[in-house]
């Protein structure tokens, strides 16, 4: 037996060495990040340093580009797609009337001309000369058909068709009309859309619609049943840059260039989306099995990509933010002074640095730094300040009790944090929060729950605080901060904010909207609706043999695939 044990010991020791060698690579790179008001986010394009290191497997693929991504659900249909990965395929195979530019504004795509009536209620579109990949031309009828499908009573996709306020939309959804009266076809390439009420978002609601050929999808369509359209989910036909030639669930989607593409035939002749996973997507880039992948931003990963030498790395601010939500109906948290104190008293810079290193910024308003609506004017940065937090709590009437916990009218300052299980942000946040708040004299308890359970509590309003993150639309209009807004599960209400949000939605001039939203963000900032945490970054890494991408937080990479050139 002793021999066996000694052998075992040797193996265990050998293993520990291997494991610790792996861990050593992660040296700390903590620069002085105490000042959180300035942008310290590292972003932008890092060019490849040495193309000669390119693996043969990638170099020999002259006309083929392979993009690695998490497997999509196989719903390559603009009406029903739900995951970002299905979006990528749809973006590569369909077109809209207008499309986003890199800066978040929009330009004409399939639309040749857009005319808006005096009263802003009627939009008249003229189509460019374009063809679907089955050879039929893109016509006004196809646009009408797409809207019919979106507004169908049985439609269970993600597009909220009724919010566009098209005249006759409601009647069609309810089945009392068999046509949408607001969409009028003038001729094959010209049509007009009338809305009952306009907002700043109307051009996008009407224009950013992926046009689907009626001849292909509409063959067996009858109002009330979309089954025949769903049956074609994995065999898309659009007017886009590429056409899908084969799909193997969980493995790959093979696409071929659309030679008749209205912007000109793409230079990439074969495009393949291949399934990869987080644990090996770097290894696949290195071996040349893939050419491109979205990689989780971390110092280790950036270093590994730089070391490969043949990768262009594009680090971009993510269109979204992380926040700690307060329940504004809670008797303690309804007091703005308490919420401000909780923000001052939390070392956000340390938390964000701990999770993302230099690749995220602490934020103070719920808007992306690259948005036109973003402002830093008169925005309180809530720099970490325990003393300030303490005095705010004193002002709010919470005095330190005998046991060190603050109390007011005999009630203890006790808060509960609903923590998401297996969330790296929460794992970093919770210890610091507990420590920081203990210093303030707050009794913070935490319960760990699964994500869905927390979302359930959020809907029911049964929580004190929780952490979550969400995405931003390019437009600042939202229903999170207005009283009784659809996403306002927080109980926040400020009549001033309601008024500004409504004004901003109705205003069409961007400069005037900027001023309106600036005021709104100042209010939201001062009210400490959430503890605004961070805006992180995304990273697209691609083999430098492909050049010509035009990527921004508002313009995902598939939109510029047609202009990408592969080095020969």
């Amino acid at each position: 037996m002793t021999k066996k044990w000694s052998l075992m010991l040797v193996f265990v020791l050998a293993l520990t060495l291997v494991l610790s060698a792996c861990g050593d690579k992660k040296e700390s790179n903590n620069s002085n990040n105490s000042n959180n008001s300035n942008s310290n986010q590292e972003s932008g394009l890092i060019k490849a340093s040495d193309l000669s290191k390119n693996p043969d497997q990638a170099k020999n693929r002259k006309d083929t580009f392979i993009i690695g991504m998490t497997d999509p659900k196989g719903i390559f249909n603009p009406l029903f797609m739900e995951t970002a990965y299905d979006f990528y395929v749809v973006y590569s195979t369909f077109d809209t009337l207008i499309t986003y530019k890199a800066d978040g504004s929009y330009e004409n795509s399939l639309a040749d001309k857009v005319e808006v009536s005096e009263d802003n209620l009627t939009y008249t579109y003229t189509l460019k000369d374009a063809k679907f990949v089955d050879g039929t031309p893109v016509t006004s009828k196809d646009y009408l058909f797409t809207w019919k499908a979106i507004l169908d009573p049985s439609y269970d996709g993600d597009i909220d068709g009724l919010s566009a306020n098209i005249v006759g939309a409601k009647e069609y959804r309810e089945g009392t009309a068999s046509e949408i009266s607001g969409i009028k076809i003038i001729d094959d390439r010209k049509f007009s859309v009338t809305v009952s009420e306009y907002t700043a978002l109307t051009p996008v609601d009407l224009g950013f619609v992926f046009i689907m050929p009626e001849g292909y999808y509409g063959k067996d369509y009858k109002q009330g049943s979309l089954e025949s359209i769903k049956a074609l989910n994995s065999e898309p036909v659009g007017s886009g840059q590429f056409k899908v030639t084969s799909y193997k669930a969980g493995q790959e989607i093979v696409l071929e260039a659309n030679e008749d593409y209205f912007r000109g035939a793409p230079s990439i002749k074969n495009l393949i989306f291949k399934t990869t996973t987080d644990s090996t997507n770097l290894a696949m880039l290195q071996s040349g099995e893939t050419d491109m992948n979205n990689i989780v931003v971390s110092e280790d990963n950036v270093e590994a990509l730089k070391a490969m030498g043949f990768m262009d790395i594009n680090i971009l601010p993510n269109n979204g933010y992380g926040y700690v939500a307060f329940n504004h109906d809670h008797e303690i948290l309804s007091d703005v002074k308490v919420r401000q104190a909780l923000t001052y008293g939390l070392n956000r810079a340390e938390i964000v640095e701990g999770i993302y290193g230099p690749y995220a910024d602490v934020i103070n308003i719920p808007q992306s730094k690259v948005s036109w609506a973003y402002t830093e004017e008169d925005i309180n940065t809530f720099d970490f300040d325990t003393e300030k937090a303490k005095s705010l709590l004193d002002e709010a009437g919470w005095k330190v009790g005998a046991d060190g916990i603050r109390e007011k009218d005999g009630k203890k300052l006790k808060l509960n944090f609903s923590a998401t299980a297996n969330n790296p942000v929460v794992d970093a946040l919770l210890p610091i929060m507990t420590l920081n708040y203990k210093e303030l004299g707050i009794d913070l308890t935490a319960e760990t729950l699964e994500f869905n359970a927390i979302m359930d509590k959020k809907t029911k309003g049964d929580y004190d605080m929780f952490f979550a993150a969400w995405g931003l639309t390019p437009d600042p209009d939202n229903t999170i901060f207005i009283s009784d807004g659809a996403q306002n599960d927080f109980g926040y209400s400020n009549p001033e904010v309601d008024k500004l949000m409504a004004e901003g939605k109705k205003e069409l001039d961007v400069e005037k909207r900027k001023a309106i939203y600036k005021k709104m963000y100042q209010l939201i900032n001062e009210d400490a609706v959430f503890i605004y945490m961070y805006q992180r970054t995304n990273m697209e890494a691609y083999n430098a043999r492909a050049q010509g991408f035009d990527i921004s937080p508002y313009k995902d990479f598939p939109f510029s695939l047609y202009q990408v050139q592969l080095e020969q």
Partner: protein, 320 residues
């Protein structure tokens, strides 16, 4: 025998009903549904209510159970919310990929485990026995993600012998044989890791079972008759030691189709394990319930199969 099988099959019906009630109740007790799991920041409350009524999620639980169970009775597993496809079709798309690696890993691990078990029992406490035991314990205790990544680093990145992951090379052109060879290349590493994981328990089991049999009187008799040691071990002892293994074989049946979540994640293998896990996280009830029932059915069939085979292999057991 026929009567026995029919009776057992009939007994499965109430069992399955019980199982369906239990898994449906558990899934109904879990907070959240497909709409909350999506957490779409742009979805209005009206739209969410509309979707719930389209999906039938607005009905009371008992009603939902009867609708679901009624559909299952006529073979309609429902439509997966995530894939927008019939559940059976989604299972069909992924399950065979899982089956391929699980099947070959099973054959390999059983073969190796039987050999290792028999020899370490035959030479109990010898150096060989100790080495086998050590190797088996190492295989068993190494975390699969660690050994998987290590093998990828060695064989795919350093030696460039095998691909990193996936089931086929993207954009591969060529005939059926090129395709089959490509799949074989891609499946080597996952099969090796899966084999390593399951070998440990099996080898220990066979060793114990073999040791038990070797001590029986009839083995002593066989030796006393002057039979060759090889005949004693492989004919008299081995066959009897293998009988309890039939039970284990029955339990392998659901495992063949269940998928391996961690393995699929590391090797980007398009199996059903991660689809199943995803359906749980996303509250894709039709798929989650449908696939769980499918696995439960396989488990019951596996049990039946084991009992029947047991009856055939061991004449001491009479099935009535």
């Amino acid at each position: 025998m026929k009567q026995y099988i029919i009776r057992r099959l009939l007994q499965m019906i109430p069992t399955l009903i019980g199982i369906s009630i239990i898994i449906f109740t558990i899934s109904a007790l879990v907070p959240g549904d497909y709409i909350t799991a999506r957490d779409n920041p742009n979805m209005t409350a009206e739209r969410a209510a509309e979707l719930r009524s389209i999906y039938g999620l607005d009905k009371p639980e008992y009603q939902r159970y009867f609708i679901w169970a009624g559909n299952m009775l006529v073979g309609n597993f429902g439509t997966s919310l995530q894939h927008k496809l019939p559940v059976t079709e989604v299972i069909g798309e992924y399950v065979w990929n899982s089956f391929i690696i699980a099947f070959f890993a099973m054959i390999l691990s059983w073969t190796i485990a039987v050999i290792a078990g028999v020899f370490s029992a035959k030479f109990q406490y010898s150096l060989l026995d100790k080495l086998i035991t050590l190797a088996v314990f190492i295989c068993m205790s190494l975390p699969s993600f660690f050994i998987g990544l290590l093998l990828i680093k060695w064989f795919a990145l350093d030696l460039k012998l095998l691909p990193v992951g996936g089931m086929t090379t993207a954009g591969l052109k060529g005939g059926t044989w090129t395709y089959i060879w490509d799949v074989v290349e891609h499946s080597i590493l996952p099969i090796v890791v899966l084999t390593m994981l399951s070998i440990g328990g099996l080898a220990r089991y066979f060793r114990t079972s073999m040791l038990e049999v070797i001590r029986q009187d009839y083995i002593r008799t066989a030796r006393a008759k002057g039979l060759k040691e090889r005949t004693v071990i492989f004919k008299h002892a081995f066959r009897n030691a293998m009988i309890p293994a039939i039970t284990l074989l029955g339990f392998e049946l659901p495992g063949l189709f269940g998928g391996a979540m961690i393995m699929e994640q590391i090797f980007a293998w398009p199996g059903i394990g991660h689809v199943y896990l995803n359906s749980i996280n996303m509250r894709d009830y039709p798929f989650m319930l449908g696939f769980t029932i499918f696995l439960a059915l396989l488990t019951l069939l596996g049990n039946l199969l084991a009992d029947v085979l047991y009856g055939i292999a061991d004449p001491r057991i009479r099935l009535k």
